[in-house]
Symmetry: C2
Subunit: 472 residues, 2 copies
């Protein structure tokens, strides 16, 4: 592909995206395909001769788009929306176009230094403690996902708790134990499995039935019982915004208990953390100043194309101690000087793309004012949903709204709740997801897109009302 051809096709790809976004309102949110529908439209083998790039664009329209659930649709309210934005798309494009690989500072210094600067900016914007900035013993890094952040936090915790023994000789027989509430993200169990601790090592601590926040007495009892048995508490995982209902664990109280026993405190604010760009939405992060690590995902609610998960540690030595590897071919004067950070040692991967450009582009293009307005809009729309729920006695709230997440159900029962949701999802009008709270089914509606308006919420609500009526 010649430079001229790249320009031409690149402009076409940009236009395709602009057209795709413009078309979203009229597309069904959820893909209307059955398993195998997409693959059976594609040839069985790669072509021998090259095809024009236009053929790829044509197949996007013909084969791919009908098989997509549209995460950027203004009426996508399921899971936590993973919101993209024009500035992020272009930032990501520039990263691809530069094609630098920043495994260590020396392999392309700007990749590392822009990331350090952007993480410092973002820490300040969220009101995170000074200790997390790069000019002290801590620092931030962009992970792909919060799952990876939680996993690396666990590895760092094991490293610190074992004084490096785990890294050298393996887990041994310390009986490491990890604590999170019953509402902790599934990545906590996955991290324990990957780290070799096994599912059994994770203690699921009960929650308050109303708030779904971790029961601190139960946490203390579980830790003390384990210590009594000769087991070793290594990490306490706190949800600042759980996946199911947006529940907020008490980071201050739980952190105190964890520290009494020398356990690492990891605050998982994957979804809700970015709300802290607004000073009035920082209450859930109280206590983070004494946490050992913190993660939040700009790729969820902060307009930054997936993936972009920002992760900070108070003491980067525990993290790099756990993960550093130095083969001969990566030895270099800059690393040996101690003046630079080599991000290779901050995550499982060795190679890494220029991860910071898209977040840099988002912070600059929208500015903190623009990002605050975006967060506030989501919170307001969620409050509007809560009003709609309150005004219709076929529905009831399950928990208090949490920022931009509303959890509710049909009073008629679980079966009706799930059937109504499925009817809306199947219609393509909107896309919602479900959960269970205290054993009962509930519908989750999480506002995230900058393109979602009150009209989108109202239209979704009407569809839900009709589906509820059909259940009577």
């Amino acid at each position: 592909m010649s430079p001229e051809e790249f320009r031409r096709q690149g402009h076409a790809a940009i236009d395709w995206i602009a057209d795709y976004w413009a078309s979203l309102d009229d597309l069904p949110v959820r893909a209307q395909v059955a398993p195998g529908d997409v693959r059976r439209q594609l040839p069985a083998s790669a072509p021998e001769a090259g095809e024009p790039f236009d053929a790829v664009l044509a197949d996007l329209d013909r084969v791919v788009v009908p098989g997509l659930t549209h995460w950027q649709h203004p009426r996508f309210f399921a899971y936590f929306p993973a919101n993209s934005s024009p500035a992020a798309i272009l930032g990501d494009l520039l990263s691809s176009g530069i094609g630098a690989q920043g495994m260590i500072w020396a392999t392309s210094p700007a990749v590392t230094e822009v990331e350090q600067v952007v993480l410092d900016w973002f820490a300040e914007a969220l009101g995170l403690p000074e200790d997390f900035r790069s000019d002290g013993p801590g620092g931030g890094v962009i992970q792909d996902t919060a799952s990876t952040a939680t996993f690396t936090a666990l590895l760092a915790a094991l490293h610190r708790a074992s004084g490096g023994e785990v890294r050298r000789h393996g887990l041994g027989d310390a009986g490491w134990r990890v604590y999170g509430s019953t509402q902790a993200h599934s990545s906590l169990v996955k991290a324990a499995i990957m780290a070799g601790l096994g599912e059994d090592a994770v203690r699921a601590i009960g929650v308050d039935p109303l708030t779904q926040a971790m029961d601190l007495d139960a946490l203390r009892a579980a830790i003390e019982a384990d210590v009594e048995l000769g087991l070793t508490p290594v990490l306490v995982h706190l949800a600042a915004g759980s996946t199911s209902t947006g529940a907020m664990d008490d980071v201050v109280g739980a952190g105190r208990i964890a520290r009494e026993h020398g356990a690492w405190v990891h605050v998982d604010a994957a979804w809700a953390g970015v709300a802290a760009v607004c000073p009035e939405h920082r209450a859930h992060l109280a206590g983070v100043e004494s946490a050992d690590s913190f993660v939040t995902n700009p790729h969820k609610w902060l307009l930054t194309t997936f993936d972009c998960s920002t992760f900070w540690v108070r003491d980067r030595a525990a993290l790099t101690g756990a993960l550093s590897i130095l083969p001969e071919y990566l030895r270099n004067a800059a690393s040996e000087s101690g003046e630079v950070v080599d991000y290779r040692d901050w995550h499982p991967q060795l190679g890494r793309r220029f991860r910071a450009i898209k977040l840099w582009a988002v912070l600059r293009t929208y500015g903190l004012e623009g990002l605050r307005a975006h967060i506030r809009s989501g919170v307001e729309l969620a409050a509007h949903v809560a009003d709609l729920v309150a005004a219709d006695d076929r529905f009831e709230m399950v928990t208090e709204p949490s920022l931009s997440l509303v959890v509710f159900r049909l009073t008629a029962g679980d079966e009706q709740t799930l059937a109504a949701m499925e009817e809306v999802n199947a219609s393509g009008e909107a896309y919602l997801s479900h959960t269970t709270v205290e054993g009962r089914a509930a519908i989750r509606l999480a506002v995230g897109s900058w393109r979602t308006t009150e009209a989108d919420v109202d239209r979704t609500w009407r569809a839900l009302q009709e589906a509820a009526a059909a259940q009577d």
Copy 2:
């Protein structure tokens, strides 16, 4: 940013990339900055008000480009080049623009099905065994990097060897042991550390001093000695193209020994595997038909923008058994039908972008013929370098050329070898990296870019000759 503004800025970003690529020949390959040079040019805080996107582009020119080592430069020969291409950049752009998140089939079916199809295409194109295709018990997935592939292979191996006990109860006291040559990629040790086995669990097997390939007698002896001690061999890592010299382990012979002891065979062909698109460059993959897992990185030598690491397993049940987690909010009818694959269970992350588009775009736009021509060009240019080395008695080859990698040194000695390389790197003329082979320093020159011509190689060689002359 309005749709019109997105088009305008998007075209500007595409043009910026085209201009950047056109400028590369005239830029120093290695960044000419000292630690801190980039960050001190950036403001201390994120802006309150948004800035025009043009400001980001302007800062790329002003701050970022001087701080980059240019991985897409035609005279970038260090490490293994991570080659991008126009089609891959645009494929990646489309993935960002669609912004779908394919953690499970149900969250956007085309994300999963296109990936399955593309991995089947690519398996066929590389001549990989039928067992790795998605229509049997195996299958392929795109990992971010080969480090992640090796780590997940180890987790799958532990799962199989323990009958699921490791997942449930942790590593226990089986004394799991992992084997790789002294030349195995550093990600093997990192994987053992992350999985909780510790560095001690990795047995570094000696290599033939000439070929740098694993000594099979030593492998057998190490495994038998461990079994004698009551330890449990769980995985044998074979390099089909080592990082240092491109050494090829004997997959047939080592695989036989591994299987005698029930160990998982993981073939790490991160760099060299993609050469198998050429039937004449498949010899190093002999034996892969009995391997349990295989990884190669289109993001190295196959024109696919970082990251894109293709990973296959013979039995996907071992992998998903090790990694599956099913929280309530991800339960869905498609998953429960067993008719679909949920890629969440194939890697550490939960969320995932539309990973397959860029490889799909590369395979289609260049076609297998175009990719074969690219690989052959790299091999020919490496042979040309070997000829240049042979023709100048200040230089000598260290090992036989391996595909597009040439490893050589100055006959004058280690110090002179490293000094000559550093002189070339510091000049910005070309960028090379070093290694040690049998205790002696060597220069690695790996050809990778589709933009590298014989003139680039000759220009690099002249710079090396001048640097060598300066050492006399």
